[in-house]
Symmetry: D2
Subunit: 350 residues, 4 copies
């Protein structure tokens, strides 16, 4: 259960890492929107492994195929089914891990919940599950574009290296997807060092959303921040999320936290943005700003102590080509989830 | 829209701060559970204003009334409707604020979204909206009790004063609801000082959930942490949430973040709990640990610059008796939202 | 579960026949719609018992109270909570029926499902459950009025007496709510005869919806006719529903069933209306026509054989003042359910 | 929107008649149920065109492909994605119908709703849309089998020829899927005669569900009969549905309609079954009996008057190989929808 998100822009994903295909259904996309496979492939390529020296060197093609919902290059208003067929994986590589509970992974909890799981490549708890999210996000972006909404996600911290300056044009120009031209090289080094040690590293991603119209979000349970929090925390590896002043708000007085409201020529603006663009669960029209804590990838070459399903204690070294830091590939997934939430709220706003 | 949360344990809330009544409907509560007004009143009293010197001195009775779903002291399996009728408020006090956008409040966004709002006491965006959450949470707790699940929320930070030692028995014995007997007095002082200055203060709440059975949560969008994040972020004043190692995970290596798994006599355990009790969106059986950033209350006596609906710039001093720190009263609300999410996932788990 | 209907115009009902109150929450009603208690009371009075000689002589006041969602006579865009408080019922009258499974009633199935029920007046399976539906329907009608949609329901058959001529102005002028001035008196007689015999009688209600805009309804599972079917069949006592040519379509050839489409001055029309105003689940712009089979009320004074919970066989005569035919009071409920479905589809249509 | 049905057993369908593929996602199927492509293909073959002389002579292979949710022959508890890839259709055949509103079809309403549609073979409003329903129904049946629930649907009337005797073993032995060995030949003749005239014919399908456990269904909006009504009326061509005594209930007295309840050795039974197996929206444990009115197929060779999108009046003869009566192929679709509803209610019953 729970493979669907959204009310008016509804996304359902499916697929196991090494199954026949992974994909998504988007229900609720309005008719007559221009959409083709290139639009979606572009986003898929951004999350693809093997893009750079700081991601896994595995090479997966991940070619999108539109099964329904699009005709003559335009959406029909019917469900859009998108799939990526899996090439032949060497599943035998995973045979050895069949009964092992890899630390930090979902092997243990899945076994306890279902009593049975597809152990090949993590099955449905694999990072490949996010393929469906990215494809749906590409469709969502088509709804945001006419409203001029822009979503930027970037590494603001890798290990203990923090970015300070934000140059949005720099993000796609460096393998870490940092927005800070100065910090990027250091962040890259941190990742490479972790890889060399057979280890991995975490970080923090900042998400900036520009040109959000005022009035998005529902005021009680479906607050815009609540829906964004759910969507982002549902991405594997997320350990926390904050909005605007975030955890820093703990030390602020009310007089410091409150953003003054100004009016000029019938237009309202704010003196600063500690709110992070949302008040009472509804967008203010300012930029929405969030930060997301992302843990280090769980698959590491270093020896770890763990247990097998049978109860036997073992020492585990995970071989294979794994990401030493997931953040560069997490970024397009986070953008996609944001796009899905915003498209849903745009369509809910009647 | 968006006034309902949950699939199998569904909570809908309603009510404006100064309307005739506030309340909730709980649909999906199984039949034959013992439930009476005392069970609910106990929780309501914990969120009630006027409990101590660190909360507002306003005195609201907030008496629960069960309208349906309970017969001869037991639930019927039908919707449980619970209300709190509003006593006569002095709504005229708010007449002056009718067209004012109070900084940090939802006045501006509501006006932009609906073009019309109940300005008395914040209307539906008032903290009184949480009355329905607390009453529903009291029902949810009745479902958790037989499973032995225990939920503890406590102030871990007020302003810059941090709690370190955790004594769960101390929480209800101090007005701040700190779990640290040493830090509590300092926290109380921070709040009083803010009040004296006509200001307010924020903090961080830690939530600890004990005896969660393994296997709660759905693995993709409805991950247990994702649903908890949404539920908690939907509470007014929340600026961030983190699980387990949280934002600290950014600086951790994979070898540090991963919790080793041990087996003994056919039972599995973990060497530590950086996961915060959830892996792959599913409970591990360890304690669930979250921390929540709560901003300082927006209503302060200090002069603030803001604008009216008409566009006029004004200087605003909010009079009346407001909470200088919402955390003591936020705590039962947070526990309630956690209870609602857990009851829902317990009932989804077939 | 299952006490909520609709996506964008969401109605949740609650309440047992002899509980403290019955009511509903309407979530999704747009802001700034004029609404007051009189609008709702008018519809409640149409379903009220004791209106005429062909309904029960019980007199229930059923006064609506608006608890939330309305301010200064206008909707706020927040949940509208509406209740009817129960006057003091003589519940002891029902004590005798506590363990009896009344034939045709839900006593048996509720006991098997929940193991426990409120036996007073049928509890939640009472006809009084429809109070919430009628109040929500009154709100829904406020959304339909600006679109000029008109809903008419009337008795087209009582026992074996059929109405043929349709005079919509006559419906509220006769106690049966027949639309046929000639048949009405005979229908009334059929009901009175059944009452005299200590028995009851069924019939058929026709529902006519005028001025439905083209394009309402979703084409697959949420077809307009599918949603109407669910909404109507969910009303107690309904045994069947048909649209347009209905069961008569069985004997029709395709060439007879298909409605020819004509065009004139850029406007399309249909040569006849065997479709009943819906094609492919979407409204055509023609009148929507449905017919609903309604069974005779189950509570009769005649002796019936049945069993008690304990397994004992008994002879049962149900005393008290029951409706000999529910159709006159079913009609406002049916209209309400239609209004709720149409309001929901109007708001879903973006 | 509206391409999903169910809460705990959730089915989403997608696909246009001549698009790349049609399919469904089943979310909520428990783990560890044996499932393979043969299970699904068997049901697909029953709805396949070209089975007999009374269905269209078009030959479509309709081969199922499992994309996800099944591993080593067992369900994983993850979404089951099932597709049928379309072979190369001669879509040019439809080019001529591009702007024509075929009477009885959804061409007109789709054009009015979306302003754009896939005209090839009816697009999403084609009967091929039911492929997803049948595949999901095959999965649902896997959940019903351990409970021993059996679903039988059969032609009880074709044109004016009615079946009287019910021999459930005969259904799959005759091309009409009649349950009456005597009426079957006459029904077949009625269909062939209609085909010869270039016309089509409707009928009535009866659905019998055996071994339904007592207690399925939710008592208010999600009554078992209400959910069945929605599911069945959502199938193309349905004009009506009735339960138990159905429209015949109109002429029955309460004393005739009520089914007496008997008890023997602690087990309850009913003297007859005018209720159709459901009381108060909850299954009684008796057989569930429904009848469904199905209109004649809209595509006929006879000349029809209609209009083009441009407003031009035309005379239309629909060529190609169309079903002269849809009932034989409707039957597996109806069974599938019933299975989906029952699986959902079985899983909702906690």
């Amino acid at each position: 259960m729970g493979n669907t998100i959204g009310q008016m822009f509804r996304v359902t994903t499916f697929g196991e890492s090494h199954g026949a295909a992974l994909g998504c259904i988007v229900d609720g996309c309005p008719a007559q929107i221009l959409l083709n496979e290139t639009d979606i492939q572009r986003e898929l390529d951004r999350r693809r492994p093997g893009q750079s020296k700081v991601t896994t060197s595995r090479s997966e093609k991940d070619k999108v195929k539109i099964l329904s919902g699009v005709f003559e290059g335009k959406t029909l208003g019917t469900p859009i089914a998108l799939i990526v067929e899996n090439a032949d994986f060497k599943s035998e590589d995973y045979e050895a891990l069949k009964d092992v509970f890899r630390p930090g992974h979902a092997d243990f909890t899945w076994d306890m919940k279902y009593g049975f799981r597809d152990f090949r490549g993590g099955g449905r708890s694999s990072g490949r599950e996010t393929i469906g999210r990215v494809m749906a996000g590409a469709v969502a972006k088509k709804i945001l574009t006419p409203v001029k909404i822009e979503i930027y996600a970037y590494a603001i911290q890798i290990g203990s290296v923090c970015g300070k300056n934000i140059d949005l044009n720099f993000i796609e120009k460096n393998p870490v997807r940092s927005a800070d031209p100065k910090a990027a090289a250091k962040m890259e080094e941190v990742i490479k060092n972790a890889a060399t040690e057979g280890d991995s590293v975490g970080g923090i991603v900042e998400i900036l959303i520009k040109n959000v119209p005022v009035g998005l979000g529902e005021p009680v349970f479906d607050k815009l921040n609540a829906d964004l929090a759910k969507a982002i925390v549902s991405i594997p590896a997320v350990k926390g999320i904050e909005f605007g002043s975030g955890f820093g708000a703990a030390e602020k007085k009310g007089s410091e936290q409150n953003d003054p409201i100004m009016a000029k020529n019938g237009k309202f603006s704010f003196g600063k943005n500690d709110a992070g663009g949302i008040l009472g669960g509804i967008s203010t029209g300012q930029d929405i700003i969030m930060r997301v804590a992302v843990k280090a990838p769980s698959s590491i070459a270093k020896t770890q102590k763990t247990a097998c399903k049978s109860g036997k204690a073992i020492e585990l070294k995970i071989s294979g080509r794994h990401d030493p830091c997931i953040i560069p590939r997490f970024i397009p997934v986070a953008e996609s989830m944001v796009a899905i939430v915003l498209a849903n709220h745009l369509l809910r706003k009647t």
